[in-house]
Amino acid sequence: MRGRALPYLLVAPAVIFLTVLFFVPLVQTIALAFETRTGFGLGNFLRMEDDLNFHDAVVNTFRFVGLAVPLQLAAAMGMAMMLRHLGRGRDLVLWIWTIPLGLSDLAAGLVWLALLNDRGYIASLLFHLGLVAEPQSWLTYETPIALFAAVVIAEFWRATAIVVVILVAGLQLVPKEYAEAASVFGASPWRIFTRITLPLMKPSIQSALILRTVLAFEAFAVVIAIGGRNFPVLVSEAYNWQNFNQEPSVAAAYAVVVMCLSLLATVVWLWLLKTPAEQRA
């Protein structure tokens, strides 16, 4: 029967494509990571762990994700709430706020390099304010805190936009009546936010967190643009092992670690912020 087969015919190309270019490489990556000259084993992981940069990369990655993602969520939530107070001009403001959505992390890194390099605009601003006398080099391994801050700022600047978009889209799905009802029944604006708006936005917050955490684990061009090799993260190490050391299996070991972390983060967010079907609007 042609009618029955039709949906399968429509879906088949996408299924085949994702199998070949997602599931097969996924399995291959895992296989590559466990493959050693003497068969299968943890050799690549041991080599990865032995590397000088590994420890720094793990710590940096966790600090980076752990700071950038919550900051993005908090700022985006504030921005989404602010937008509700705008009448005319809301569209223009939204467009401006979402411009960074279209930027790569490499571009964002370069933008902040322009501001933060030793003769950059931030140093100049501090000079004009009389706080510093000469060019400042912040982005070296000698100034780890400033370097870390610069990377987080660049990522925060770029990727808050996507969280804003997800949250604003989610907010549009929550009828205004709930907040109105709460205010009529005596809730202050803060209580409306914590008791009504936040719980009702849980699904959007959840998907924003999943998306952002996975992508933050993956970010590395921003790190390279700003800090060169002074701020190793897991994916930049994978990149270096692949491109400079020509060791695909160690790179794959890094990739497996990143994949596990992403998967774990996704599971944690799914579990922590689950909304049972009966509590959905």
Binding site: P175, E177, Y178, E180, F185, G186, L200, E278
Partner: protein
């Protein structure tokens, strides 16, 4: 003491005026319905009273206190929303308790009020369910219970029955009337359904194009419409109007009698609708569309030529240009 005074309340959105200088006095314990077609400003007026909308001019007083500048939460009122706005992430119990919690009531009072209002609205077995597990009628009852639980001085209802199907609406209407009579709360009830307004309210304010056309008891509104609009809006089918030298003769369809040939107005029947309790005839008399409602079943063929006569004591005269009722004593003879 929770009478409501609406004093010269005006609202405009940019160039369009939603309400023009509305004045309304509502006594303590009174149930007033705001009745009008969609877009007449009735919901805007209710939202201004609730504080969800800010008026362009005028004041709202509750119990003699000017609350115009207060946020909704400080006005001491409760509201039932058109789509109920029952919080989907809270169980029925917590929904009912919401207002009390926000006002800092102690847990004993909360428990007492939840039990009382849940009993009043037959919600006891549903207290631990989430709204998504309830039917539309049950959700509606939760919304009412949540409003009554705070024992508000004023209860506002915004088309609370409009999302229910016809049969359920009839049940809920009777139930609401009983529950609200017991509670004795001053109530403002917005509806576009005249049967609801007439069935529930002590008084009805008919709104049209941002102004109050008439305020009165259901019987006054029905039998003595102050304007042509009220006569045409209230009553189903609405009042008939015939032209009489610069005036309008208004007559309800049930106040027209079929009379013998030559004794009355010639009436050509176009459509016959047997409605069970009534038979509704629609046709033309003196070039006007006229409806006649006859009690019981009558077999009238479409195209029949009948004669009709208005009952003189039921005729209401209106000025043809202003559309306003002409006071008794100055009316011409039919």
């Amino acid at each position: 003491m929770a009478g409501i005074t609406i004093d010269g309340v005006r609202k405009s959105f940019g160039a369009t005026t939603a309400l023009e200088a509305v004045n309304l006095e509502i006594a303590d314990h009174e149930f007033v319905a705001l009745l009008g077609p969609s877009g007449c400003g009735k919901t805007t007026l209710l939202r201004i009273i609730a504080g969800l909308e800010t008026q362009t001019a005028g004041r709202v007083l509750i119990g003699g206190r000017d609350i115009s500048a207060l946020p909704p939460r400080a006005r001491g009122l409760a509201m039932v929303f058109q789509n109920y706005a029952v919080f989907p992430h809270l169980r029925v119990r917590e929904n009912i308790a919401f207002g009390l919690r926000m006002h800092g009531a102690d847990s004993a009072r909360i428990a007492r009020q939840v039990t009382r209002t849940a009993g009043l609205l037959r919600l006891e077995p549903l207290l631990d369910r989430y709204p998504a597990q309830l039917s539309g009628g049950q959700r509606q009852r939760v919304a009412v219970a949540r409003a009554l639980a705070v024992e508000p001085a004023v209860l506002l209802m915004d088309e609370p029955l409009s999302n229910l199907d016809a049969l359920l609406r009839l049940d809920m209407r009777a139930e609401l009337k009983e529950v609200l009579r017991e509670a004795g709360t001053t109530t403002i009830y917005v509806t576009h359904d005249q049967t609801e307004a007439m069935g529930l309210a002590d008084r009805i304010a008919v709104l049209h194009a941002g102004r109050i056309e008439q305020i009165g008891t259901p019987s006054e509104i029905y039998h003595h419409p102050a304007t042509r609009f009220v006569g045409g809006f209230v009553g189903s089918p609405p009042m008939n109007f015939l032209a009489r030298d610069g005036r309008l003769l208004g007559i309800r369809p049930e106040d027209l009698d079929i009379v013998a040939t030559g004794d009355g107005l010639p009436f050509r029947v176009n459509v016959v609708e047997p409605l069970g309790a009534q038979t509704l005839l629609t046709g033309i008399a003196e070039g006007h569309l006229v409806r006649v409602a006859l009690n019981g079943e009558h077999h009238v063929p479409p195209g029949a030529e009948l004669h009709i006569r208005p009952r003189p004591e039921r005729i209401r005269w209106m000025d043809a240009t202003t559309g306003r009722a002409i006071p008794p004593g100055t009316e011409p003879s039919p």
